[in-house]
Assembly symmetry: none
């Protein structure tokens, strides 16, 4: 479809909504259709245009379901509320009896050290609970025994080392050996998650930097969270220009990233423009800024998921999210690659993965809170990942 | 509110009960109102006055719901029965959707050694189940692997050392390193619990003494239980004059404390006066004397919680209590600090934390016993912390 010219620069979008205004236009089925159409449309206008997106364009507003969230009320930037349920349904692959082990996804979490073991476990088990076939953890020896003890479902590799266990003269050889070990597996993974419970040991972070470079060369999508964001913030080249990188900072991590990359503080007045600029400055990455709403940008559009989850803020929910996003991003990538569209119409699968992961966590957290109230902990939320996905996207669909 | 003078020294209190004697005065709602009023009143009379509190003052008796428990029947001291449910409702923060991880509380337990691993786990997981966002454990390396394996929800730091693992000539440097490690985290905590499963190794206790001093300098409330009480009883300067210190001795620990501080035996005839004197002698601390009723004093008032819990006395219930008190004390401190009252009307948040923690344990123990009878163990009680809090203070409140 060619992009027609006209008085309204978004007229080409209006052509996608011939039924607009009919009585059933507001039905859920219609809205799902809209978002599916949207997901196959060319990317929205470049940032400068987004910033100046005419809010008075009623057709665009309706079609794109434009909303501004509270924090962005004063912003001129446009934030699209994702039809996240439609995204989940669209990218989740059907369960095919003819498939083999691994075809629904193989995920690896790079994290887990002497201090932290819960975070990589949460991320890895969440990937399985969302529907991946295999979930690996690459961690230090100290962490491996504990993570293995949490669950027999995970494949845990006690490969990483921290400074205290490596002599200075051994560093180069140990680092090389670690990369070789992880490298043997890398090609098999559909996505890796770097950071849950990684810690901040300098030697370990150096090794993980090598692993990230290797993953990039192998075109493996990479979700970066937790201490992985600490690493990346101090070494932006690890993700610069990588369209398969997803960063998932919380409010504090986002603040550090903005300060480092944009050399200023977070400005809530121009939050969406700042997010777009951040993605562009780093180059090609997708960022999901976690908060009351999860706000997602790939440097072109800004989309949010604001479905209410739970008021509990117990630690570990970010790990569920990173594991879930890894699975959905790999599914979305497969969906986009196998449903051929002209390049200009392709939607960024990393964005779709973020949207789907965000929604699923929020749904599961909502169920868990309804059951456990203030005593809700992360394991309670993981328990509801399956039901939440089934509610949105039944296994028989 | 100024304190009027009159024939009865408690006339100023009588002014708070204009509705006394009306038919609905005994309703739960009215009683809750009374305790809320009380929590905003000036502190009760100084110990000498309490000792001479006229038992015949009917108005005071009604308003303050004065009761003497069995052990104190012959005492002239006045023991106030706390309206603990009202306290829980008052200090528990609403769940706010705009909050971030950590804002509902970050707790740390200092304990766990080669011999004991259950106690610090019980304290730390209880803190999470009551509603804290993050719960840390600082323990020895031997204990860490086991405590981690109990639950991925906890952040366990294998930092402490016992004498057997440290050479004499290394002691100073290891001790210094431990303090540095814990110190890095200290400012983040809203309350620490010292003692569950700590053991009595001399080197380890020296290190924990340093940690307690550091917490005090940083104004971090500190609950002292178990072997922490052994440490403190032998080194009172660790808590002397610290209004943010809470000691939670059981009958044996209390006996040793009385012998050490007051140089006499526990006297049940003058139990409440003795408790007040004990608090005053140590200086500013709050003590919760655990027993059939939990009796709480900060050296000014004596309050008790006598709600029946369970006849089971399985080990570990004290750890649930210390973890719960830590959360409630930090919430109460926040409540008192953010609901400005004239200094003379401020209630001691440490006392409120004890009252709330005591009630919650008793409620949860009651539920657990109803379900499990003689086979009730500590984990069964922890399972009911959430329901017990929800019954008193629904999450939507």
């Amino acid at each position: 479809m060619s992009r027609p010219t006209g008085a309204c620069p978004h007229a080409w979008r209006h052509q996608q909504q011939p039924l607009r205004g009919r009585m059933w236009a507001a039905s859920p089925a219609f809205r799902r259709q809209l978002v599916l159409l949207r997901s196959l449309l060319p990317s929205p206008p470049a940032p400068s245009s987004v910033a100046g997106f005419p809010p008075s364009c009623p057709s665009c507003s309706s079609f794109l379901r434009v909303r501004t969230n509270h924090a962005m009320a004063a912003s001129a930037g446009t934030v699209y509320e994702a039809d996240a349920e439609a995204v989940v349904r669209r990218i989740t692959p059907p369960l095919d009896r003819a498939r083999h082990k691994g075809q629904a996804g193989k995920i690896a979490v790079i994290g887990g050290c002497r201090e932290y073991t819960g975070a990589p476990y949460f991320a890895a088990i969440s990937a399985l609970k969302v529907g991946a076939d295999l979930s690996h953890v690459f961690c230090t020896k100290d962490a491996a025994t504990v993570i293995k003890s949490y669950s027999p479902e995970l494949i845990v590799h006690p490969i990483l080392e921290e400074s205290y266990s490596v002599r200075d003269d051994e560093r180069a050889s140990v680092s090389s050996k670690i990369l070789t070990e992880v490298g043997k597996w890398m090609e098999r993974f559909d996505c890796i998650v770097v950071g849950p419970g990684l810690g901040r040991d300098s030697f370990l972070l150096d090794c993980v930097s090598n692993i990230m470079r290797h993953a990039r060369q192998a075109n493996i999508p990479t979700v970066v969270d937790g201490d992985g964001l600490f690493l990346v913030t101090n070494n932006l080249s690890l993700v610069e220009g990588n369209p398969l990188a997803i960063l998932t900072p919380n409010v504090y991590e986002y603040k550090r990233l903005v300060q480092k990359v944009l050399n200023c503080d977070v400005d809530e007045e121009t939050a969406s423009e700042q997010l777009i600029t951040l993605c562009q400055k780093i180059g090609d990455v997708t960022i999901m800024q976690k908060g009351k709403a999860d706000v997602i940008s790939d440097g072109k559009t800004v989309t949010q998921v604001s479905t209410f989850g739970s008021p509990r803020r117990c630690g570990g929910q970010g790990d569920i999210l990173s594991g879930s996003v890894a699975v959905f991003a790999s599914w979305a990538r497969h969906f986009v690659l196998t449903n051929e569209q002209p390049t200009e119409k392709r939607v960024n699968p990393m964005t779709l993965g973020c949207i789907a992961g965000s929604l699923l966590l929020r749904k599961a957290a909502s169920h868990a809170f309804e059951k456990n109230k203030r005593s809700t902990v992360t394991s309670d939320i993981i328990e509801f990942l399956g039901k939440s996905l089934e509610d949105i996207c039944p296994a028989e669909h």
